[in-house]
């Protein structure tokens, strides 16, 4: 966090100053490790063993926050008798089909909730086709609102007992054996987090892509969620799980998504074959209980925002105009489509996949096989210049004269040259003013797409096929000599309007009948009272510590999600120290420091009547209002592609076997076994070392925004690897000299930094060396500092839920000295591949 989020890290330093104990768990010793109470080195790719052991520690010693767990989680819920755990199947869950490598999640259901024969089920096979489970970012898949439960937690099939059995093998001994964290270190961590959780205290976890970029990445976060729910650390001040995003407004770009499978507000993108019309789609996607029960209002208001008067009840509010999925259209599938010639054109906006994505060679081969490519960036990044400087030109794999891709480079305005909002990881929207005009032809993305849309509309006619584009509301006020569309008008459209044309103030006002518009239902209220709420900057010293008048947080300016859990089932704070929102019986409403999660008049003793829908179907004690049963899900009955519980699997490329189960790696991981994407065999003596990639404070992601700047480039001027003195001695690496790192994809050369900060770990009885590789450099791109591309080493192997690549744990070999060039490089890789 100190490395990549130094500004946010000031609050960790502040917390430490106020007495917080801070642990840092990371494969390599970073600037964060240097400034915490305890650093625990871990083998990359084994965090579920550690988190599982913490869960086991809590369960085995009954250290869970029992009152919280009983009231607010699905611990008591009884699971289908058809469910089989990894304990029963040596590392597999029930429902796995080895042919398709996909799970059918039917047997993971709540009891009495199992689908009949042939009935569709959310999650598993269907969702794995298009990362459908990704769309559960903020919601629960369908499940019963009132499933059978055993509040004594003794039923052998209740979630609590299943959890106990499932995690029993995650012991401190296993942590030592697989993670390389000693039993003493584990005991210190376990004691600290349990002692610091309960009525009076809360513990927070912070993670970043070190947890997500794995073939079992989603389950890392799930494991942390289970731990935090058991300890009562969700929905309470000082608790939670904080996802640090890769750069500014990544949160915003999932809320108003750049993801292929989502519409704004985490509404699933319709599928070409599964959804006939609006009604059919709404029936299939999501539960009727909890806040997703209002999804018709959210979607119809979105359609009205996009197609205005053209969207009517009679034409399904133009639901048919929405694009449709036919399968996986994620980043890596798209790249394979380029190589195969099925994807002809490509927009790359503020991204540099030629350097920043796994298996850079595959990326560049894809770029070279396009008809056209549009790159919008601040500088000429490698993705725009690959045709003249890609490493494949030197090896002869590409020739400039053979590349037919027509590249359009569109210079972009930077964030200080345009106005708009950033949404940070706390869902806080903050409006930015424009500081100065962009130079020359540089334009904002908003300008680019708006005017591109206008040009396209000029060229289209009245054909029926053109109507989705021609009937779009595409009429923002234009400002200044370049006719910049008004970003404030866009934000107001996102907020939505009522029948009177005035800005809405709350998502509760959204209607299913087409009388309201809203570009993103969770953002409704950001323009309440016709005021840009995101632009509020009342100083913290002039308001409560929640600071509700600094910016605006979705939804409803709520600063902590699921804050109902900050009070006990009767609505009283768990403790004075941790008071946040509470029920005022005299006034008959929820009050406190933050906006409560639901109708402030809903009493804690509210019980839903039979057949109730949406939020009315949840009780006054149900904090997790997006879930169909209002409970925090320790066990996930549907919605995930690789199991209802986290289980440790080795990374796809790993030097050691999985000693926990017979199943070595995540059985449902997405493998792209193609000539462009060869894999290192697991446990191969040719690739004996673990390597992990990461960022440094001095650079930004793939370097497009930092390598061209002298003041940043000089601070870390060359690609390098970090190795321990012991590995350096074994291999013959010299500090400041050169090393060549080899995988089945390619070999790269980089400088050597020998440091005690990298420590060899003893794993399953043998010494495992880890090599750290910051990934900021590339071969050109206007950078003042250039070098080989670390991501070229990475394989494409994906998490089956969200299709993120496993770039945090791979295997490699390392040699002293510089790499061969040209044909000799290919020969070297060939020798490694075939041993």
């Amino acid at each position: 966090m100190a490395e990549c989020h130094p500004v946010g890290y000031q609050w960790v330093m502040e917390a430490r100053d106020r007495g917080a104990k801070v642990f840092h768990i990371d494969p390599h010793f970073t600037r964060t490790s240097a400034t915490v109470d305890r650093y625990l080195p871990i083998r990359a790719g084994t965090d579920i063993v550690l988190l599982g052991a913490l869960i086991n520690h809590v369960l085995a010693n009954e250290l869970d926050f029992r009152e919280y767990v009983l009231a607010y989680t699905n611990a008591a819920t009884i699971i289908s008798a058809r469910y089989r755990d990894t304990e029963d199947l040596d590392g597999l869950f029930s429902g796995f089909d080895p042919e398709t490598r996909r799970y059918d999640p039917a047997s993971w259901s709540y009891e009495g909730d199992e689908p009949g024969e042939g009935e569709p089920r959310e999650g598993g096979i269907r969702h794995a086709e298009a990362a459908g489970s990704d769309s559960y970012g903020a919601r629960g898949a369908g499940a019963s609102a009132q499933p059978p439960a055993d509040p004594t937690l003794r039923h052998p099939r209740c979630v609590y007992q299943i959890l106990k059995r499932h995690f029993a093998r995650y012991t401190p001994e296993r942590v030592a054996e697989l993670c390389g964290i000693s039993e003493e270190e584990f005991a210190e961590l376990a004691e600290a987090i349990t002692a610091n959780s309960g009525r009076e205290r809360t513990t927070a976890w912070v993670y970043s892509v070190g947890w997500t970029q794995h073939s079992v990445g989603v389950q890392y976060i799930r494991a942390a969620s289970i731990l935090q729910l058991l300890l009562g650390n969700m929905g309470r001040p000082g608790g939670g799980i904080m996802a640090l995003r890769g750069h500014a407004s990544i949160q915003g770009s999932t809320d108003i998504p750049t993801l292929f499978n989502l519409l704004p507000g985490y509404i699933a993108m319709p599928h070409a074959l599964r959804h006939d019309g609006l009604d059919h789609y709404l029936e299939q996607e999501g539960a009727d209980t909890g806040y997703w029960g209002n999804r018709r209002s959210y979607l119809v208001s979105l359609l009205k925002a996009w197609w205005g008067d053209a969207a009517t009840e009679d034409n399904d509010f133009c639901f048919g105009y929405l694009p449709r999925l036919t399968g996986d259209h994620s980043h890596y599938a798209t790249v394979m489509g380029q190589i195969d010639g099925t994807v002809k054109g490509y927009f790359v906006v503020g991204e540099n996949p030629a350097v920043g994505s796994a298996n850079g060679k595959a990326q560049r081969l894809g770029l070279a096989n396009l008809d056209w490519l549009v790159v919008r960036d601040l500088t000429l990044v490698e993705t725009a210049t690959f045709w003249k400087d890609a490493p494949e030109l030197e090896t002869g794999e590409l020739r400039t004269e053979d590349i037919g891709t027509e590249v359009f480079f569109m210079p972009a305005a930077s964030h200080v040259e345009k106005e708009g909002t950033f949404t940070n990881t706390q869902r806080l929207l903050q409006w930015r003013e424009k500081a100065l005009d962009p130079p020359g032809d540089c334009r904002s993305d908003l300008w680019f797409y708006y005017h591109l849309g206008k040009l396209i509309r000029q060229r289209l006619g009245g054909d029926r096929i053109d109507r989705p584009v021609m009937e779009l509301t595409w009429d923002y006020p234009e400002e200044g000599e370049h006719r910049e569309p008004s970003a404030a008008a866009v934000l107001r459209e996102i907020n939505g309007t009522g029948p009177d044309g005035r800005a809405l103030s709350s998502l509760r006002q959204l209607k299913p009948d087409g009388s309201t518009t809203c570009g993103c239902w969770i953002y409704c209220g950001v323009y309440a009272g016709e005021v840009n709420q995101a632009a509020r900057r009342r100083p913290g010293s002039e308001q409560s510590w929640i600071a509700p008048e600094w910016g605006w947080a979705w939804p409803a300016n709520r600063r902590i999600l699921y804050n109902r859990a900050s009070a006990d089932p009767d609505g009283r704070p768990w403790s004075e120290r941790k008071a946040y929102v509470w029920w005022d019986a005299d006034k008959g409403l929820w009050t406190g420091l933050d906006i409560p999660d639901f109708d402030e008049h809903m009493p804690p003793d509210y019980r839903p009547p039979e057949g109730a829908r949406a939020e009315a179907a949840l009780a006054g004690t149900d904090p997790f209002i997006m879930q169909s049963d209002g409970k925090g899900w320790l066990f996930v009955p549907s919605g995930l592609s690789d199991g209802p519980l986290p289980a440790h699997y080795e990374p796809h490329e790993s030097p050691v076997p999985n000693t926990l189960y017979g199943q070595r790696a995540n059985p449902a991981r997405r493998i792209l076994d193609r000539p462009e994407n060869p894999y290192n065999p697991p446990m191969s003596s040719r690739f004996p070392y673990v390597f992990t990639t990461y960022r440094l404070t001095e650079h930004h992601t793939a370097g497009g925004m930092s390598r061209p700047l002298p003041y940043l480039a000089e601070l870390q001027p060359a690609p390098f690897c970090e190795v321990s003195p012991r590995l350096a001695a074994e291999v013959g690496l010299v500090n400041g000299g050169w090393a060549t790192i080899v995988t089945a994809r390619t070999a790269i050369e980089l400088r050597v930094l020998v440091t005690e900060r990298v420590r060899p770990l003893r794993i399953a009885g043998k010494v495992v060396h880890q090599i750290g590789v910051p990934y900021h450099w590339g071969y050109g791109g206007g950078g003042m500092v250039t070098g080989d591309v670390p991501n070229d080493l990475m394989p494409i192997v994906l998490d089956p839920n969200v299709f993120i690549q496993e770039s945090k744990a791979g295997t490699c070999d390392i040699l002293p000295g510089r790499r061969p060039h040209g044909r000799a490089l290919l020969d070297l890789i060939e020798r490694y591949r075939h041993g």
Partner: protein, 263 residues
């Protein structure tokens, strides 16, 4: 004269982000310092110099990674200022020491005069450059760029007396927390430079950070040396008169005074 302003750099909360280095260069238009991979932990700018006015040192120890942002000390008794023949170096109304680039003639006398090795001549233009404590920002009522950019308040700017009090309290707090190695550096008006306008809280010996343990203003002994030199000259002149040799005046080595100093 306004209140004496200074820096208190508390290295116990430095996270090594180098925002100070970058903010300093941005504000003061300091050129890059070359693109050299030094393989010295995460430090690739090496030291303070003409083109690096804030420098973050990274010291790797067993289980510890010390980080510290170094800067010109703005000494109470500033030798660089004493030896400057053009008046380019002057003491400001904030009691800081600043070089005026339009007056500096590049003689370089200040460079060896600095007991910390801070001030340096820029190869490209020959003139001497160093931290100005953002003199222009101070005159505009703003804090220096490095302090403004520091996310953890490792670099604190303010009236020197206040900073010294704050620093004492910080050391006491750290000692109470068991960080017994915490100590201040450059805060005492009784040290060899009369106290630094920019002082530090360190977690190890000064030498560990590349700081001289016992700095002395290099011009301290100058009056004595002049007396010595004068006497030597007279003696020599006498000797010359006796031996009829050509008269030559000894070159007074005051620029190398730092090597002669003894306490």
């Amino acid at each position: 004269m306004a209140e004496r302003m200074g820096f208190f750099t508390d290295t116990s909360v430095c996270i090594g982000c180098k925002a100070c280095e970058v903010a300093c260069k941005e504000w003061n238009d300091v050129p890059d310092d070359g693109f050299v991979f030094r393989a010295t932990s995460y430090d690739n700018t090496g030291s303070l110099g003409a083109d690096t006015w804030r420098h973050v040192a990274f010291i790797e120890q067993d289980g510890r990674w010390l980080m510290s942002s170094d800067v010109c000390k703005h000494c109470t008794q500033a030798a660089c200022l004493d030896v400057c023949p053009t008046g380019a170096l002057f003491r400001t109304e904030f009691d800081t020491v600043v070089v005026q680039p339009d007056i500096c003639n590049g003689c370089g006398y200040c460079v060896p005069a600095c007991p910390y090795g801070v001030i340096d001549r820029r190869e490209r233009d020959g003139r001497a450059w160093k931290c100005t404590m953002c003199y222009d920002r101070l005159r505009g009522g703003m804090e220096p760029a490095c302090a403004k950019a520091c996310p953890t308040d490792s670099i604190q700017f303010g009236p020197l007396d206040e900073l010294r009090e704050r620093a004492e309290a910080r050391v006491e707090r750290l000692h109470a927390d068991g960080v017994l190695e915490a100590r201040l550096y450059g805060e005492s008006p009784d040290d060899g430079v009369g106290g630094d306008g920019a002082f530090f809280l360190l977690l190890d010996e000064p030498e560990t950070y590349g700081l001289p343990p016992d700095p002395v203003v290099t011009t301290r002994d100058l009056p004595d040396m002049w007396r010595w030199a004068g006497g030597a000259a007279l003696t020599l002149a006498g000797a010359v008169a006796v031996s009829f040799l050509r008269v030559s005046f000894p070159r007074v080595p005051f620029l190398q005074a730092s090597f002669l100093r003894r306490r």
